[in-house]
């Protein structure tokens, strides 16, 4: 291959004239993690609510929850982010719309990215939460109800604590997916890790160094996150309980 390897490029000053390229990548990693964290919080909260709602017997609430999940998981993330960034502000009242558009960078891309990623991931979390609750023996809900607990109390004290433990493994892979999916936000101008790597390769033309560095960083981040979540999973594991092997849905 006619390629001029130059790993030293990582320690050369980047276009902003101050930081080295490796710092630029790490800066990008910061945005990756921050966006993933914010979107993760939205996804967990909203996804749990929708997932729970879909296991109740309020017919129209269940339908609404199903509609949400179908809508958000059947459109590619790439397209959703584009719509959040370019189309939604145009559909809002003018003043509000321009206020959103005037947000200084990177917030102008960060906010739509977090909303888009959050709502997209919420649909997937909702699926997991629903599956988790439904994988519990039907008798658990009955036992709670038979004790005199209200529906809300049954969810809070009986169903959700077990459901969340059971879906820890699929939620772990959702977290990995979320971190990786933030890379799609580069299409609306968020300079996260992949975008930083691309920008590095376009300015320096050292493509393979840039992408290798990014790949290695992603692998390290994933190792750390997966092990953190495994540890969390172990530390909340119920002694003596071997849960039904929750079948992880796929997804990226």
């Amino acid at each position: 291959m006619k390629y001029n390897w130059n790993w030293g490029i990582l320690w050369q000053t980047s276009i902003d004239g101050q930081n080295t390229w490796i710092m630029m990548l790490i800066h990008g990693l910061g945005w990756t993690l921050f966006a993933a964290l914010c979107a993760g919080v939205i996804a967990l909260l909203l996804g749990s609510v929708i997932g729970v709602v879909r296991t109740t017997d309020h017919k129209w609430l269940v339908r609404l929850g199903n509609a949400y999940v179908e809508l958000f998981r059947n459109i590619p993330l790439l397209v959703q982010l584009f719509l959040w960034f370019f189309v939604i502000p145009e559909l809002l009242p003018k003043a509000f719309g321009s206020a959103i558009k005037q947000m200084p960078p990177p917030w102008g891309s960060f906010v739509p990215a977090v909303i888009g990623l959050g709502l997209f991931t919420a649909a997937r979390v909702a699926e997991q939460v629903r599956a988790g609750i439904q994988s519990l023996p039907r008798g658990q809900r009955m036992a709670g109800t038979a004790l005199g607990l209200t529906q809300a109390q049954t969810y809070r004290h009986v169903l959700l604590p077990m459901a969340f433990r059971i879906i820890m493994p699929p939620l772990t892979s959702e977290t990995m997916n979320l971190i990786k999916n933030t890379s799609v936000a580069l299409t609306i101008g968020l300079v996260e890790l992949t975008a930083a790597a691309r920008s590095m390769q376009e300015f320096t033309f050292q493509v393979f160094e840039a992408f290798t560095a990014a790949t290695v960083i992603y692998i390290i981040v994933n190792l750390v996150v997966v092990n953190l979540l495994r540890w969390l999973e172990k530390s909340v594991a119920v002694p003596g309980f071997i849960g039904p092997a929750a079948v992880g849905g796929g997804g990226h």
């Binding site: 291959m1 790439l78 719509l83 370019f86 892979s173 890379s183 692998i219 997966v226 092997a245």
Partner: protein
């Protein structure tokens, strides 16, 4: 934005579907079949009692799952010619078309996900089924082929298909290679004619209709093929 110019869609409809959608669907179908076959092999490797086999499969799956698809597409696009050369013993990187390259990429990438599904599927078959197969005198491959995999596969069909719908949406990322899949076609027209909003709205609609239609089909199928237990 004021006025939408949806005329651009009418003008490019033929191109969008005859080139873009056909590419997307072909790629999805080939990668799904290849991914499931390779994924099943990976799952069997992971569950095998040969430590190094299971380690290799685990490493592969974890690697694939920790890199963003965008980067995976990129790597495969440039490395496949070298892998091809290495496999065929050719002196030069062999020429691999964009289509072949994306089929290989998605097969290899999705196999990691399909293998997790098949692994769960195999593990969901009660141990007793395996014992029953062995007790009849079936050997490993016969037990796998006639007892375990048919059930695992049938139990997992809904999840496999759901993953395939995700694959269908993921193929849109090949646009980074400037390959004309459906989204690539849409974005090419959109960029050339400066009609991004119209095109993306249309693309969202098309993806939604196809994916949602497929997921309805999955539900139907699920009710039909579920094994009576």
């Amino acid at each position: 934005m004021g006025s939408f110019d949806f005329d651009v869609i009418a003008r490019s409809l033929g191109y969008l579907f005859r080139e873009g959608m056909v590419f997307t669907l072909t790629l999805t179908a080939l990668a799904a079949v290849g991914g499931i076959v390779f994924g099943t092999l990976l799952a069997m490797m992971r569950l095998s009692s040969f430590k190094w086999l299971s380690l290799a499969a685990t490493g592969y799956v974890n690697l694939m799952r920790s890199i963003p698809l965008l980067l995976v597409i990129f790597w495969f696009y440039f490395l496949v010619p070298y892998i091809g050369a290495w496999l065929t013993g050719a002196a030069r990187p062999i020429h691999v078309g964009a289509f072949a390259s994306s089929v290989i990429t998605f097969t290899m990438f999705e196999a990691a996900y399909y293998s997790e599904i098949m692994r769960a599927g195999i593990q969901s078959i009660p141990r007793g089924q395996v014992w029953a197969g062995y007790a009849l005198g079936l050997n490993y491959w016969q037990t796998m082929g006639t007892v375990v995999l048919p059930q695992a596969f049938r139990n997992m069909i809904p999840i496999l298909l759901t993953q395939t719908i995700i694959l269908f949406q993921d193929t849109s990322l090949v646009y980074v290679l400037s390959i004309t899949d459906f989204l690539g076609a849409a974005s090419k027209v959109a960029q050339r004619d400066s009609r991004l909003v119209e095109m993306y709205l249309f693309a969202a609609l098309v993806y939604f209709i196809v994916s949602f239609g497929l997921s309805l089909l999955v539900k139907r199928l699920q009710q039909k093929i579920a094994i009576v237990r």
